[in-house]
Subunit: 405 residues, 2 copies
Amino acid sequence: MPQFAARMQGAQRSFIREILKVTADPSVISFAGGLPNPASFPVAEIAAAAQAVLAESGASALQYSPTEGYKPLREWIARRYRQKKGMDVDPADILITTGSQQALDLAAKVLVDEGDPVVLEKPGYLGAIQAFSLYRPGWRSVPLREDGPDLEALDEALAGAKLFYAVTSFQNPSGLTYSAARRTAVAELLRRHGCFFLEDDPYGELRFSGADLPPVYAQRPENSLLLGTFSKIAAPGFRLGWIVAQGEIMERLVIAKQAADLHTGSLDQMLVHRFLRDNDFEAHVARIRTLYGAQCRAMQASIARHFPKDVAVTRPEGGMFLWATLPGGLSSLELLKLAVAHKVAFVPGAAFFVDGSGENTLRLNYSNADAATIDEGIRRLARCLEACLAGRDAVETLLERGCQA
Amino acid sequence: MPQFAARMQGAQRSFIREILKVTADPSVISFAGGLPNPASFPVAEIAAAAQAVLAESGASALQYSPTEGYKPLREWIARRYRQKKGMDVDPADILITTGSQQALDLAAKVLVDEGDPVVLEKPGYLGAIQAFSLYRPGWRSVPLREDGPDLEALDEALAGAKLFYAVTSFQNPSGLTYSAARRTAVAELLRRHGCFFLEDDPYGELRFSGADLPPVYAQRPENSLLLGTFSKIAAPGFRLGWIVAQGEIMERLVIAKQAADLHTGSLDQMLVHRFLRDNDFEAHVARIRTLYGAQCRAMQASIARHFPKDVAVTRPEGGMFLWATLPGGLSSLELLKLAVAHKVAFVPGAAFFVDGSGENTLRLNYSNADAATIDEGIRRLARCLEACLAGRDAVETLLERGCQA
């Protein structure tokens, strides 16, 4: 058999997607996914939009369309940045992508040569690790603190780096958010080191506590790309994301996009635009924020009630994830085996680290379960945690009981 | 400014998409595009499918979905290969892609290292040249004859090659089709040289004369990938294509797909599946075949009537394109300038060659204009051709007249 490309050596399917297959069993309470709550999907509004778009513009909704994206949708996005963030974004600076996963792939394709130093948060977003890894960068990772990256470590990592990738609000996996001061400091460091900056903001609209902050991009558009998505504020099934970038960067992204899939679905773009135009989008997003805020608080309350005290958990102000750190020496992968036997699942944290660390961390998703289910799941998980803390005998006893259940 | 990735050096926007912008003027008759005729789009059927899918499965139509694609759609595709081509295709061998352009990108990503020899037809499909070029292969091209590639040249080119890329039926840009004998010979050469084979079949359903032939893939599934698309038999706005491949190749394609955009639009896949399920697809495709066959014959008749006799034109049995070769020394790029001034457009052939040749060739699309428009466009083009053949003075006279028009 002929050889595959070298970039495929060691490339693996997403660990998370593999876990999700295990959790297809409906008796398993899963905190493993990263799925928006389908209760928030505007199904009837999309059905109405579909009728209107197909009746009024059927031929163009089904035809090829420009690589850059559907113009009214690009205008809507630019206008929203102006109105909500006070940012000066031109519709020409918006490229519609096939979800923001594609934006990651395009950015890596346009910016990264093999061996280029790429700086990532620690923990960092798995989808970005996957997309970038196929371009074989040299990874550097910078610890995330409560209010953003460790600045000293970032300063060191940025020296000679090609690019810094960051999820600045309600990060996946940690739930952490860069403070205003940290945003300014990061922009300053980026300016000093002169590298590219890729800011990923899929959850920015999902703030349920604290004050809204503009992206770092607002302070440093040169050499920067800002990613957004409709996956969390409309629905992910459309695969609709976007990149904000200017000038030469945008020119090259368009070339790469054309080679990657010509353009993003015409009907999808027109449907979502019609949905945004014909409905009260602010009220829609407010409902999602309220829902996720309540579910986050429910999970925090259950954790406070059930978890052993030496498990540290982040306090997100938005988004979809909590991040837990176990006492040193405990393995979340071992915990997962026990947990799955007890019908509860999460994502072990190691997948979010490029330096082999993170064994004692885990990600919990709260967007896709109601409060009662969350409490039951956290209770089950707490029993597994206690057994892990108590040592091997307790684990084996619990494993046996789980297998009988 | 930091440096872009080396792969972007020399990468350009599609020449065709740039021509299409010039031809946005509705007074220009354009044979430049590669657009399916919107009269063939099943708009009402898609609207009905949208209502049914959203009413019955709204939450899953708008949610994330498996990387491999929507299972009932993969089953439909596999079944059709069995029924129409007698091919043994398992649904597990089908990966749904975001148009077949994405399939080209994924194939290149999985198979091609920088400098790998990649063999292409001459002329070859521009979208593949674009997708592959970003992976920086060493191109080799093999002349296409009436019934397929020159076998001696192919044998030579395949020595030590990584991959052969071919559009075996009603090729874009030439309209040419591999004969049954040539298919067998190509499969034999591939087996002998042991390289990967990427067979692109976007137009296979659009045969309006001659006998149907199974893809070369049917004779040689090992180390091979077969591409298909709904763009020409349903509508391109969905961005729905697929790859047929097996075993390790499929495993790696799924990994690359996950990194590229997670999965193709859930709603799009369910809509198209519902359309296929609830309607008479055979009748639908038969209508497209009849339409394009009539338009192809109209263009051939107009060419016979108006074109100078020393312009050679291919005789397609299906698909969307005719290919013309001008007498040596004439430049189709020069002809295009004159043509645009006379409100008719086509694609100069040089873009379809990776070796700098093809200056005297051009592609004519017949799928997207009615017979009267085709005749008027061919008449205009014939006048420009005559002026080119008559020499510089005639061209300048005609250019002046065009600019006054």
